[in-house]
C-alpha cells in the first residue's frame, strides 16, 4: 500500500540509550500517600474544580470540568478524600505553581460506576464531547485536547491518519513498551479515530530501532485484518518523531509553521493517545494513568504505569535515584525541561523522567565564537539557517531573526547538538521568541489603549455634533413662528458675506446650549465642600486637557 518513504533534511543520530529501560516490563506503581492533580494539564482553558476540600472522591470521578470546548476534564485516579485545592509547584521549567486538587487515597481504590457509552451508535459530536469529558489529550507531549483534532473539518474526510510511535528521542521508551504490551488496543483506538476522521488510510509509524514493538503491532494488525491499516517502520533519525517530520517521511507533505496538517489531509496522534481513546470509549475509562519512563542516572531504569498526580520523587524512589545526580529532566535529553522541584506531580504530558549526572550529560563546555561552519544548517530538520538566527538573536535584531523564520524553529536541539563552538543555540532562540512575544503584548496593549482613547474622542465629537445639529434643526423650524428672534442673529452674521445662514443658526444654538449648560451647572454647584470643589476642579482640568488633545490630533471624523 505504502510503497515509498520520503525523507526530511537534517536530523542527528545520537546514541539511543533505550535498552536500559526496556529490559523489564511496565510496572504498576503503588499509590503515593498524596496525589496532586493539577487542574490545567493540557492546552486550553483551566478546568473548574467540581469538588470541595473535605469531599470524598471515587476512582474515575470527574474533579475538574472542562472550561469551554478548548479544554479537557480532569479525574481522580483513585478513591480518597480531597485535602486541599490550592496552587502547587508544577513540572515546568519556571517552577511556578498552578491550582491542583490534592487527594489522600483511602487505599480502597473504589471506582465510580462507569458511564458506558455506545460509541458505535453515537454521532461524531457526541463522541467528541465524551472524549473531552474523559480527559483524553495528546500524550506525545503537546497535550492538545484530542476531541478537537478528531474532526475532519469542512471537507468531511481525511486522507491519512498517522499514529506516531516513532519515539525518536534518546532514553524515552514509554511508547515502545506500550506498543509491545497493548498493540491490539492501540490499533483498535486508531480504527475509532479513523472512523471519526473518515480517514482513507491509517499509518502506524515507528522507528526501526524498535523491532519488538514493530513485530507486535504487525501481528496485531494482521489479526485485525483491516486493509487500510498499515504498520510502517521508518529509519531511526532524530527528530523523525516530530509530527511534521513524520508526516513528511510518510506522505512527502511538508506542513508549514502556522498551518494545520488537516489542511493537507493528514492528522497525527501519539500511540498512547490512540489507546486512551480506545479505553475511554470501550470501557468508559477516563485518562487517569499513563506510562512514564524513569531512566538515566538511576539504579533500576524502568517504565512505570503511574496515576497522574503521583509526585515525581515517588517514581525516582522506585527506580533508585543515584546520589551523584545533579539534575532532573522531564522528557528526553534533546528537548526535555529541567525540573526545579522533585515534588512536582506527574502530569498527562510526563513521558519520561531522566536523572542526569555530570558523567551522563557533561555540563556544557565554554561557548566559543560561531565560525559559521554550517554544521547546524546541515542538521536542522526545519531547513533553517540556525547560525543566522543565532547571530540576529544575539544582536537583538529580532526583526531579522523573524525574517529568517525564527518561529519555524521546533527547538529540537539538533543545531546545538552538533555545534563545534558549544553555543547553546536553542537558548538564544527561546530568548528571541520570548522577547518578540513580550514586545507584541506591549504593542497590543498600547494599540488597544490608543484605540479606546481615539474612540472616546470620536464619540465625544459625535455627541457634540448631534446635539448641535438637533438644536439647529429645531431652530431652523422656529423662524416662521418667531421671526424677530431669527432676524437678530441673521443680521449679526450678514457682514461676513456669503456665510451659510444655517451655520449661523447652529452657532446661535450652540451658544444657547452653552448658556443653558452653565445655568444648569450653576444650580448644583452651590454650597460645595472644599473637597467636592477640588474634585470638580480636577475634573474640569482633565476635560480641558482632553479637549485640547482631541482638538490637536483627533483623527476620527
Amino acid at each position: 500500500m505504502l510503497n515509498k518513504l520520503f525523507s526530511f533534511n537534517g536530523g542527528v543520530k545520537p546514541d539511543p540509550n533505550k535498552s536500559a529501560s526496556t529490559r523489564e516490563p511496565i510496572a504498576r506503581l503503588a499509590l503515593p500517600p498524596q496525589l496532586v492533580i493539577p487542574l490545567h494539564q493540557h492546552i486550553g482553558g483551566t478546568p473548574r474544580p467540581l469538588v470541595t476540600v473535605g469531599s470524598t472522591v471515587l476512582g474515575g470521578q470527574r474533579i475538574g470540568a472542562p472550561d469551554g470546548n478548548v479544554s479537557s476534564a480532569v479525574h481522580a485516579p483513585t478513591s480518597g478524600r480531597v485535602v486541599a485545592i490550592e496552587p502547587r509547584p508544577m513540572p515546568h521549567a519556571s517552577g511556578l505553581s498552578s491550582p491542583a486538587v490534592v487527594i489522600e487515597p483511602d487505599g480502597l481504590d473504589t471506582a465510580i460506576e462507569r458511564e458506558l457509552f455506545d460509541w458505535h451508535a453515537a454521532a461524531p459530536g457526541e463522541i467528541r464531547d465524551f472524549l473531552r469529558d474523559a480527559g483524553v489529550v495528546g500524550l506525545g507531549g503537546a497535550v492538545f485536547p484530542s476531541h478537537l483534532k478528531l474532526n475532519p473539518g469542512k471537507s468531511g474526510h481525511t486522507d491519512t491518519l498517522v499514529i506516531n510511535g516513532a519515539e525518536c528521542e534518546p532514553f524515552i521508551t514509554c511508547d515502545d513498551m506500550l506498543m509491545r504490551a497493548e498493540p491490539g488496543n492501540i490499533l483498535r483506538g486508531a480504527l475509532i479515530m479513523q472512523r471519526m476522521l473518515a480517514a482513507k488510510q491509517v499509518l502506524v509509524a515507528l522507528e526501526d530501532n524498535k523491532p519488538e514493538a514493530a513485530a507486535a503491532l504487525k501481528s496485531a494488525a494482521r489479526a485485525l485484518g483491516h486493509a487500510s491499516l498499515e504498520v510502517v517502520v521508518v529509519p531511526t533519525r532524530y527528530p523523525a518523531g516530530g509530527a511534521k517530520q513524520l508526516i513528511r517521511v510518510l506522505t512527502g507533505i511538508e506542513v508549514p509553521h502556522g498551518s494545520r496538517s488537516t489542511d493537507f489531509g493528514v492528522q497525527c496522534f501519539n500511540v498512547a493517545t490512540a489507546l486512551a481513546v480506545w479505553r475511554a470509549l470501550e470501557h468508559g475509562e477516563p485518562l487517569t494513568r499513563r506510562i512514564v519512563t524513569v531512566t538515566g542516572n538511576v539504579e533500576r531504569p524502568r517504565n512505570f504505569d503511574v496515576a497522574i498526580g503521583t509526585p515525581i520523587s515517588h517514581l525516582f524512589a522506585a527506580a533508585g535515584l543515584k546520589p551523584d545526580t545533579d539534575k532532573l529532566i522531564m522528557g528526553g535529553p534533546m528537548m526535555g525541561i529541567p525540573l526545579p522541584n522533585i515534588d512536582a506531580p506527574v502530569v498527562k504530558a510526563t513521558n519520561c523522567l531522566l536523572a542526569s549526572s555530570p558523567t551522563l550529560f557533561a555540563p556544557p563546555e565554554p561557548e566559543l565564537p560561531c565560525i559559521r561552519c554550517g554544521e547546524c544548517a546541515r542538521a536542522c530538520p526545519a531547513d533553517l539557517q540556525p547560525f543566522e538566527l543565532y547571530w540576529h538573536s544575539r544582536a537583538r535584531n529580532f526583526g531579522r531573526a523573524q525574517e529568517y523564520k525564527l518561529f519555524d524553529c521546533i527547538e529540537c536541539g539538533c543545531c546545538a547538538y552538533v555545534c563545534p563552538s558549544h553555543i547553546p543555540l536553542v537558548d538564544y532562540y527561546r530568548y528571541a521568541k520570548s522577547e518578540i512575544w513580550a514586545r507584541e503584548r506591549d504593542k497590543d496593549a498600547a494599540d488597544s489603549a490608543r484605540e479606546r482613547f481615539e474612540f472616546r474622542n470620536w464619540r465625544a465629537d459625535r455627541e457634540k455634533e448631534e446635539k448641535a445639529a438637533k438644536l439647529a434643526a429645531r431652530n431652523a423650524a422656529k423662524p416662521a413662528v418667531k421671526p424677530a428672534d431669527g432676524a437678530a442673529p441673521a443680521a449679526d452674521v450678514a457682514p461676513s458675506a456669503g456665510e451659510d445662514p444655517k451655520k449661523a443658526l447652529i452657532e446661535a444654538a450652540m451658544a444657547r446650549a452653552r448658556a443653558q449648560k452653565e445655568a444648569v451647572a450653576a444650580k448644583n454647584t452651590d454650597a460645595l465642600t472644599p473637597a467636592q470643589q477640588a474634585q470638580i476642579d480636577a475634573a474640569e482640568e482633565r476635560r480641558k486637557r482632553a479637549s485640547e488633545l482631541s482638538g490637536s490630533d483627533a483623527p476620527v471624523k
Partner: protein, 338 residues
Amino acid sequence: MYNSPYLRQNTSVRRVMVTVLVAMLPAIAMQVWLFGIGLLLQIAIASATALACEAAMLSLRRRPVARALGDGSALVTAWLIAVCLPPLLPWWMIVIGTSFAIIIGKHLYGGLGQNPFNPAMLAYCVLIISFPALMSQWPGLQGSDAATQLNWVLGGERALDAVTGATPLDALRTGLLGNADVSAVMQSPAFGHVAGAGWEWVALAWGAGGLLLLALRIITWHIPAAFLGAMALVSGVAWLIDPSHYASPAFHLLAGGTMLGAFFIATDPVSGATTPRGKLIFAAGIALIAWLIRAFGAYPDGIAFAVLLLNICVPLIDIKTQPPVFGHKVEPPDGGAR
C-alpha cells in the same frame, strides 16, 4: 541551570582546526620532498608569529587567552600563509604577512568568526603588493641544500637567481607577451607534464588533503566542485577557441594555487558563503576572477585577489540564496488563501 539539549556531540572548534592541519600534511610533505626544508622553516616562523600576535591581541582585548589560543585557528591561518608564499622568503616578510593577517585581518574585525576577509589571502596580497619582486621568485626542481635554504630564509646572502625563477604562470604570460605560443613556452624546464615541474605533484597532494576534509565532513562538496568546475570551464572554453594563446584546463587546475584555493582557502567558513547555492556562486566567482587575472592581469596568480573580492560579496550572496524553509517550498494546496 542550563537547558536542553543536554546531549552534545563530541566535537569542538579545536577538533575542526586540527583536522584541517592534518589534511594539509600530504601537500606539505610533498613540497618538502621536492623543494627542500625551507617550507618547514616558514611554517615555524608563521606559527610563532601567529600565536604571539593572537595572544597579544587577546590580552589587549581582555579575552581569555589560553582558551582562544587552544582553538587552533591561528595555527591554521599561519600554515595557510606559509604554504601560499614562495618557499624561500626572508623571515621578516613572513612575520609582516602573518602579523597583518592576525592583527588587522582577524582581531581588528572582532576576532574568530568575525573577519570578513580570508586572513591568509590578506597576508598574501599585502606582501605581493609591497614586495612584488621577492614574491615572484619560486624555486625550481633543481633545488638547493638545507643549509643554503636556512641561510636564505634567515636573512643571509640572497643569490636566488641560480635556483629560483618565474612561476609557470609568469613564464607563460611573459612568453605570450613575446608572441610565443603556449606549446613553445611550455618547452621551458619550469614546466612539468601539464603544469609547473614538481608543483603539479604538490597540487595533487592538496587535492588529496581536500578529499580527506570532504570525507571527514569538515567541508562540503559545493565549494571545491564549483571552484574546479568553473576553472575548468572558463579555461577550457578559451583554450578551445585559441589553444595557442590560452593554456589548457589541466594546466590551470594544477598550476599556482588552484587546488590549495579550492579545498583549503575558499572553504574557510568564516569569510565564505554559507548556503549551498551561495557556496556554488562564491566558488565559481573566485575561479572566474582568478582565471581572468591569470589570463589578462599583471600578477603571477589571481586566487588571492579573487578570494578577497568574493569575500566582499558574501553577505549579498548569502541573503540572496537562502534555502527554502521546511513547509515553505511549495504553496499550500489551497493556493495560500489561508
